[in-house]
Amino acid sequence: MNALPASRGRLHRVRYRRGRLTPYLFIVPWIAGFCCFTLGPLVFSLVISFYDWPIVGSKKFVGLQNYISMFTDDPLFWHALGVTVKFALLLVPLNLVVSLMLAVLLNQKVRGNGLFRTIFYLPSVISGVALSMIWAWVYSGEYGLLNYVLSLVGITGPDWLRNPNWALAAMVMASLWAQGSMVLIYLAGLKNIPADLYESASMDGAGSVRRFFSITLPMLSPTILFNTITSIIAAFQQLTLALTLTGGGPLKATYFYAMYVYENAFKYFHMGYSAANAWVMFLIVLFLTFLVFKSSSLWVFYESEVKQGADNKR
């Protein structure tokens, strides 16, 4: 950040004679913010994770004890982790598939597709809390919309959010609803697929199913990679929905890992322990991202690898 080079290439000096400092002046807001609101807290968080750090009273260095007790004698840690993994396993694939199907449908050239796009994006525009209020009403056992619809076909629905067997599934469905941004990212990806690919495939007699699997999916695979990673990260950080819809209940069936971290910090005030919890989550997410990236060479297709040597300027 303050590492100004002592000497630079002649070329650069000619081109940017107005001072080497100029670019740094432009990015200095981010550098300052990064230090104060990201790097500093990150380091500090790591430090306090090695302490017994109550919000009032004396702090005590405990080494790895927070990490050890998390894994060895805190059943709630394993429970919360299990809930989150289950949630992610249900949500991420559903999310990827449903959003992709919607995006493909919304990409059709039909009249009024702008309107449809807007309708599908709407839930993402609405606040997490407001959306929770709407879902609380939809899922309500006695006067909920969902059970009313089910009663029309003769099914007596459970009290979704108060039934430990159904609460997590209800959360998955509620999260699925607000994935308009993923649909938009897919849509943008679809728009970047050159139309002549489809035309020549049609001329060769490829049907729409064939075109989807041989053109759309490979061309869209970088976007799918992006969406996979962001949705894993989002699934692991889900908190607002749990806090506002179920409070982690019933019987901790929706007690997400992020909620465990939050409660350890701001309900029980075990700041050190909570920081350790958060770091474990960070490492898990990093590891999963790494795995997805590693696997991507098997299934992600980059157009630029075919088109050899676009611009190497950057």
């Binding site: 525009v125 009403w137 006067y143």
Partner: protein
């Protein structure tokens, strides 16, 4: 009420007024507006400056810094939450709107990334001609690039407005006094207190949803295009 009535027998506008006055939603609305507007101004200024720095200059450490910027997007909120709380507590900012506003004035990685991707598509010749005219880098940014960035800035503004307007966790952690609550936090607490009063909750929910909807409708056509410009691949 089962089965629910779908066609309301009469529209009770007074529900809205009633719900709005049970709690000090006027105060919550004022707080939400302050946070949203100030964040937006800060975010537009800082993110566009930083994006310009990354996109239009070559300098030592640029790529490394940019990789760091991208990497910060992956850090879970939970990891920095506790130290941030302590930091703001030390500064005496807890229970004020500052923790919700000030960080926005230092740029956000996602918006910087989005604007940079757009700025990379602008041809070099533009600032070369400005260089010959002897304009300073800042003047070039202000007179040439800001006008070009307007569609992307609209996108940033829309996303940022929705994020801050809808934010729940920030207010939850940093505010404890009802007079400082934002609308989302107010609504959540309100539900806790009046859990069964569905009409009032829905009335407030509806009111909270209106501003993002209006903004979204106004900016709709910029959104897909703007995402396409970022070229996420």
């Amino acid at each position: 009420m089962f089965p629910p009535k779908w066609i309301p027998s009469a529209i009770h506008w007074e529900n809205f007024v009633h719900a709005w006055t049970i709690q000090s939603f006027n105060t919550f609305l004022k707080n939400s507006l302050i946070v949203t507007i100030l964040c937006n101004i800060g975010q537009l200024i800082s993110s566009s400056l930083v994006a310009y720095g990354f996109a239009r200059f070559r300098f030592r450490g640029r790529n490394a810094l940019f990789m760091i910027l991208l990497a910060t997007m992956m850090i879970p909120w939970d990891v920095t939450m506790i130290p941030l709380y302590m930091e703001f507590n030390m500064l005496g900012w807890i229970n004020t709107l500052k923790p919700l506003i000030v960080p926005a004035w230092f740029g956000s990685p996602f918006f910087i990334f989005l604007l940079r991707q757009f700025l990379l598509t602008v041809p070099r010749e533009l600032e070369e001609s400005a260089n010959i005219d002897g304009a300073s880098a800042f003047t070039t940014y202000l007179t040439i690039f800001v006008p070009l960035m307007v569609p992307s800035l609209i996108l940033v503004s829309v996303f940022n407005m929705m994020d801050t307007w809808n934010d729940y966790l920030g207010p939850l952690v940093f505010l404890n006094d009802a007079s400082k609550y934002t609308l989302t936090l107010g609504l959540a607490q309100f539900r806790g207190m009046f859990g069964v009063d569905m009409t009032s909750i829905m009335a407030v929910t509806t009111i909270i949803c209106i501003p993002p909807l209006v903004v979204f409708f106004l900016a709709q056509r910029h959104i897909v295009q703007g995402i396409a410009n970022t070229g996420i691949k």
